[in-house]
Amino acid sequence: MNNNQPKPFFSVDWTVIAIFIALCLFGWLNIHASVYNPEKPGIFNLSTHYGKQFFFIITAFILGTVILLLDGQFLNAISPIIYGITMFLLVLVPIIGKSVAGNQAWIAIGPFTLQPSEFAKFPTCLLLARYLGMDQVKIQDLKTKIIAGIIIFIPIALVMLQPDTGSALTFTSLIIVLFREGLSGYFLFLEGLLIFLFILTLLYGKLILTVTLALLSGLLAYINRKNKKITATVALTLFISIAFVFSVDFAYKNVLKEHQRDRIDVILGKVNDPRGEEYNVNQSKIAIGSGGLWGKGYLQGTQTKYDFVPEQSTDFIFCTVGEEWGFAGCFVVISLYIFLLIRIINIAERQRSSFKRIYGYGVASFIFFHFFINIGMTIGLVPVIGIPLPFMSYGGSSLWSFTILLFILIKLDSNRIGTTNT
C-alpha cells in the first residue's frame, strides 16, 4: 500500500507526543509535591499517590506505544462495536460498581479501581466520527441531528445514572464537533444562551426570567417584524428558553442532590459558608493566589503540603502548580494545553478523511472541556464539577482514557500520507 507503513513511528506527530509527556511528568511532579511526606520519602512507593501515578504513567506510555503499533485501518469499521460494548459496560456499572465519594462510578479490578465513564469518551468520538463522516450524512438534516444527538446522549444518560454529573457534562463539549461539521452557529449560540439562562434561573427564579425573556423576545420580534425568518427564530428560542428555565428550576429543586445544589449555590454567591462547599474553592484560590509570580518553590507549598486544599492530587492538582510554580508555572501549563489543542485542530484539519478530522475535533473538545472546567473551578470561575485535569491529575482511568483518546488520533494521523479511507 504505502512505503511508510512498515515504520509506524516515522510519521507520528512528535510535537503532540512531547507535550503529552511533558504534561504527564509535570503532573507527576506536582502529585509528588501535593502528597509529599518528609517522613516517608521514596518516589516509587506504591502505597503513595505519586508511586501509583508513576506506574500509571509507565503503563500509559506502553498503552500509547501499543496503539501506535496496531493497525488503525479497522477503527472506523469497528467503532459501532466498541461503542456498543462500552455502553453495555456503563449499564453494568450501577449494578457492580463501587461507591467512591457518593458516585457509584467505579469498578474494582484487583488493587485498582477503574472509572468506566472515562473510557466512554473515545468510543463516542469514534462512532460520532464514523457517522458524520459518511458521505450522505449532513448535519443540516434534522435526521442527522437526531442521530448525532442520540450518539452523544446515550453515554450522558448512562453516566448520569451512576450518578456522575461532572463526567456526563463533558460529553456536551462535542457540540464543538457538530459546529465544525456545519451545525448552525445558532446552536452554539443556543448552548451559550442556555448555560446563561441556567445560571440566571438559579439566581433569580423562573418567573422573573420568563417575563423578562418574553418582553425581550417581543421587542426583538417587533423590530424585525418584516423578516419572518428572524421572528420565527426568536419565537422558537423563546419557547426553548422558557421550557429550559422551567426544567432547570424543576431539576434544581427536585433532581439535584443536596451537595450538588450547595456547590452551585456557592459558585453563584447565594450562600456564604466558608466552612462548607465554599471552603474547598476558597482554599484552592488561597493556594493558587499565594503562589505569586514565581511560586514558593518545589515542595515548598504550605497550603497543599499541609492539606488545606482538598482533593489536591486529583481534581485540585492545579493548586499545587499555582502555589509552588506561581503564575509562571500556570502560564507554562496553560500554554502547553492551548498549544496541544491548536495542534490537534491543525492535525484534524490536515486529514483527508472526514472520519479522522471529526475524531480529531472530538479529542480536542474533550481535552478542552476538562482543561477549562478543571482550572476554572480551582480559581473560582466555574462551579466545582469533579473532573480531572487531563494527563496531570492523579488517577489511572483518566490518564489511560486520555492517552487512548490522543494516541488513536496520532495513529490515525500517522497513516494520513498516501492513504484514504472513508
Binding site: 459546529f179 466552612r275 476558597n282 488561597i286 492539606d307 496553560i334 485542530i345 484539519e349 475535533y361
Partner: protein, 656 residues
C-alpha cells in the same frame, strides 16, 4: 478543501479566548491582589505568644513576697473545631454547657480563623487530667502562662494585683499590650509595671489543616524570645510585716515603719487586709466583688489613702515650728488651768485633760498639754509682729516642709496628699482676712481641718529621728540584678528646723514612753530607748482613733513607726503597745513583755459594729480604679523613661 473549513478558526479562537480568561484571572489572584497571600499565612501561621515571667518581688532579706506559678490558658480556633463530646469536655474543665456555648460564640465572633482565649488559667492539676484528652478536641490547645502566687499571703495592699489589660490601655499602649495580657492594676504591680512585665516573645510555627504543628516558620527568622521582668527587692521586712498584720487583725487602721536613715519602709500594714492569692486565678472576679463590698474596705490602702486629723502627735510639729519661728524656746513656761481660754474676754475654752499647772515644753510634750500648745499657737499666729494671716502663712510654710498636705511621692499609685488648710480657706470662711489664732485654734493640737496619712506621720517621725531631714519613703529599695537604687531615694530632703530644736522635743518624747508620768509608760521597751508621742483623734462618727508614733533607739535611730487604730480610743491603750512590740520585734527579734501582753493585742477585736462609718475619707466603690488610671496617664511617661534607663543599666551589667 472541505466545507466549513473556516470554522477551525472560530474553534481555535474560542480556545484562545478561554485560555486568556483563565490567565487573566490567575494574573489577578496571583499577582495583583495579596489577599490570598495573607489568607495563606493565616492558614498555616500560628503565632505562639511566649509570655515572659513577670518579675518577682522579694523582701529586704531577699525572701520571696511574690512568685510565679504556671497555669494553662485554653485556647480555641473555632473553624478548626470538629464535632466532639461537649459534655465530657465541659466536665473536664469544670464549666457548664451554657458557659461553653457562650465562650464558643464569643470566640467565633472574634474570629473563626484566629486563636482566642476559651478558658483561662486552668490549674496544673486540672491541666494534668485534661491534657490526656486534648487530642480528642481538635481546634483546642493550651498556652502556658504564669500567674502570681504569694507564699506568705502578706502585704496585699503594698503588692497590689494584676489583671487583664483593658481595651483603653491596649489602645494607649501603641501595640505593646494585647488582649489577654496581664498588667499591674494596683500597688507595686502597677507602679513598677514597666519593669515587672518583661518583654513577650513570639514564636511563629506552621500548622497543617488539622492544626498540628509542622515546624518553625522561615526557620524562626521572625521569632523573638521572651525577656523576663526585672526582680524587685522591697524594703519590707517580711517577718515584721506579718507580725504587724497579726497585731492589726480585727482592727481597722495602719502601721507604717520607716528606716529613718534611708527612707525604706519596713512595714506597711493596712488593716483589714486580705489574702492576695484571692485576686489570682479563675475565682478572681468573684473575690474581687466580695472584697469591694466588704464594709471595712480591705482594698483601701489606709497607710497612704486614709487621712486623719493627727491629734496630739501634731504637737511635735508645732513644738518644732514654734521654736524655729522664735515663738517659744526650750524654757518657755505656760500655766495650764485645765484649758486654753481665748476669744473675746477669754470666753472660749479649749479644754485640757488635766490641770497641769506651770509646765515647760518638755513637760508639755510628755504630758500632752493642750493648754501649752494653745498658747504656743497663739504666739506663733497673733504675736509674730505681723498680721495673723501672714503669720499663718509662715506657719503653713514650715509645717508643709514636714510633708504635710502634699504627696510624699511613695512608689505606690493612688497616694493621697492629705489636707493642710491654707490661709485662703479661713479668709473665705470668715469673710475677711482679719482672723487670728482663735479662729483655728484646734490646729494647735492637731484637730480641725487637718488631714494626714499614716505614711506622712511616719515620715514626720523619721524627720525627728534624723533631726531635720528625710529620705523619700519608698517600698522598693533595689531593682534588678544590679540592685539599682533610684536617684530620688538617695537625696536628702531638708526641713528647715535648726537641729538643736529637736533635742528638747525628743526629751519630751522620751519622757512619754520612759518617765513615770509619760502617757505611754505602759509601752516602755526593756533595754530600748524609744521616743514617742501618743494621740487620740476626735472622731465625730464614732469612738476616737488611737494614734501613736515613735522612733527608736533614741541614739542612732533604726526605726520610725506610726500606728493608727481606728475607733480604739486613747493612743496609749492600743497604738502605743502595738508600736512598742513592733519596734522590739524589729530591733531585737524577741518580745520581752509580761505574759498576756501580746495576746491582748492579738486577740482584741476593735472592729466597729457594721454600718458605722469611719471618719477617714474612704473612696466610693470603683474610685480606686478610676483615679489610678488618671495617675497612670499623667505620670506614666516620666516613670517609664526612668524605668527604661534602669532596665538598660541592668542589661549592661548582665552583659559584663
Amino acid at each position: 478543501m472541505n466545507r466549513f473549513f473556516e470554522r477551525k478558526f472560530i474553534v481555535q479562537g474560542i480556545f484562545i479566548i478561554i485560555s486568556l480568561i483563565l490567565l487573566s484571572r490567575l494574573f489577578y489572584i496571583q499577582i495583583i491582589t495579596d489577599k490570598y497571600v495573607l489568607s495563606a499565612n493565616n492558614n498555616v501561621l500560628r503565632k505562639l505568644i511566649i509570655y515572659p515571667a513577670r518579675g518577682t518581688i522579694l523582701d529586704r532579706k531577699e525572701k520571696a513576697l511574690v512568685q510565679n506559678e504556671p497555669v494553662y490558658d485554653l485556647m480555641v480556633i473555632p473553624n478548626k473545631v470538629k464535632p466532639f463530646d461537649t459534655l465530657q469536655f465541659c466536665n473536664l474543665i469544670e464549666i457548664d454547657q451554657a458557659g461553653f456555648n457562650k465562650r464558643f460564640t464569643k470566640a467565633k465572633k472574634y474570629s473563626p480563623y484566629k486563636a482566642s482565649l476559651f478558658e483561662k488559667q486552668l490549674s496544673v492539676q486540672l491541666y494534668a487530667s485534661f491534657q490526656e484528652k486534648l487530642f480528642e478536641f481538635p481546634g483546642f490547645f493550651v498556652q502556658n502562662r504564669t500567674i502570681r502566687s504569694y507564699p506568705d499571703s502578706t502585704a496585699a495592699q503594698f503588692l497590689g494585683y494584676v489583671g487583664e489589660v483593658n481595651d483603653r490601655t491596649i489602645v494607649q499602649s501603641n501595640g505593646f499590650y494585647h488582649q489577654g495580657d496581664y498588667i499591674g492594676i494596683s500597688g507595686v504591680e502597677k507602679s513598677y509595671e514597666t519593669l515587672l512585665r518583661g518583654q513577650r516573645g513570639v514564636q511563629n510555627i506552621m500548622v497543617d489543616a488539622l492544626g498540628r504543628p509542622k515546624g518553625a516558620f522561615a526557620n524562626g527568622k521572625y521569632d523573638t524570645v521572651a525577656v523576663s521582668g526585672e526582680r524587685l527587692i522591697s524594703s519590707l521586712d517580711k517577718d515584721l510585716q506579718k507580725f504587724g498584720e497579726k497585731l492589726m487583725q480585727n482592727k481597722i487602721g495602719s502601721i507604717v515603719a520607716i528606716e529613718p536613715s534611708s527612707g525604706e519602709i519596713l512595714a506597711f500594714v493596712s488593716s483589714p487586709t486580705y489574702d492576695p492569692n484571692l485576686l489570682v486565678g479563675r475565682k478572681r472576679g468573684y473575690n474581687y466583688t466580695k472584697l469591694l463590698s466588704n464594709p471595712n474596705k480591705p482594698m483601701f490602702i489606709r497607710p497612704i489613702q486614709a487621712e486623719y486629723p493627727p491629734g496630739s502627735v501634731f504637737k511635735v510639729i508645732n513644738a518644732l515650728v514654734a521654736q524655729q519661728l522664735r515663738a517659744i524656746d526650750s524654757n518657755t513656761v505656760f500655766y495650764c488651768s485645765g484649758g486654753y481660754f481665748y476669744g473675746p474676754n477669754g470666753s472660749k475654752k479649749m479644754g485640757c485633760t488635766h490641770r497641769h499647772g506651770a509646765l515647760n515644753l518638755r513637760q508639755a510634750i510628755a504630758q500632752s498639754c493642750n493648754t501649752y500648745f494653745g498658747y504656743t499657737y497663739n504666739r506663733m499666729i497673733d504675736h509674730a509682729g505681723m498680721r495673723p494671716v501672714n503669720a499663718y502663712q509662715h506657719w503653713w510654710q514650715e509645717v508643709s516642709e514636714f510633708g504635710i498636705g502634699s504627696k510624699l511621692g511613695i512608689d505606690l499609685p493612688n497616694e493621697r496628699k492629705g489636707r493642710l488648710p491654707t490661709s485662703d480657706l479661713y479668709t473665705k470662711r470668715w469673710g475677711s482676712d482679719r482672723w487670728g489664732s482663735g479662729f483655728n485654734i484646734s490646729l494647735s493640737i492637731g484637730q480641725g481641718e487637718l488631714g494626714i496619712t499614716p505614711l506622712q506621720m511616719a515620715n514626720v517621725m523619721a524627720i525627728v529621728a534624723n533631726r531635720g531631714f528625710f529620705y523619700k519613703p519608698h517600698l522598693i529599695k533595689a531593682i534588678g540584678e544590679k540592685h539599682i537604687v533610684k536617684d530620688e531615694y538617695t537625696k536628702k530632703n531638708m526641713v528647715h528646723i535648726d537641729p538643736s530644736y529637736f533635742n528638747i522635743v525628743i526629751e519630751g518624747m522620751d519622757d512619754v514612753v520612759n518617765s513615770p508620768g509619760g502617757t505611754a509608760i505602759y509601752s516602755k521597751i526593756p533595754g530600748i530607748d524609744m521616743c514617742g508621742k501618743t494621740g487620740t483623734v476626735e472622731n465625730s462618727q464614732g469612738k476616737d482613733h488611737s494614734v501613736f508614733f515613735a522612733f527608736a533607739p533614741r541614739v542612732n535611730p533604726k526605726i520610725a513607726i506610726v500606728v493608727v487604730v481606728e475607733n480604739a480610743g486613747f493612743g496609749a491603750t492600743w497604738s502605743a503597745p502595738i508600736a512598742s512590740v513592733m519596734v522590739e520585734k524589729y530591733l531585737k527579734n524577741t518580745i520581752s513583755r509580761p505574759p498576756g501582753y501580746l495576746d491582748r493585742l492579738f486577740l482584741a477585736n476593735l472592729l466597729p459594729p457594721t454600718h458605722v462609718k469611719t471618719s477617714a475619707v474612704v473612696p466610693q466603690k470603683g474610685e480606686i480604679v478610676k483615679s489610678s488610671s488618671d495617675i497612670a496617664s499623667k505620670s506614666s511617661s516620666s516613670i517609664q523613661k526612668q524605668h527604661e534607663a534602669i532596665k538598660k543599666a541592668n542589661a549592661q551589667s548582665v552583659v559584663k
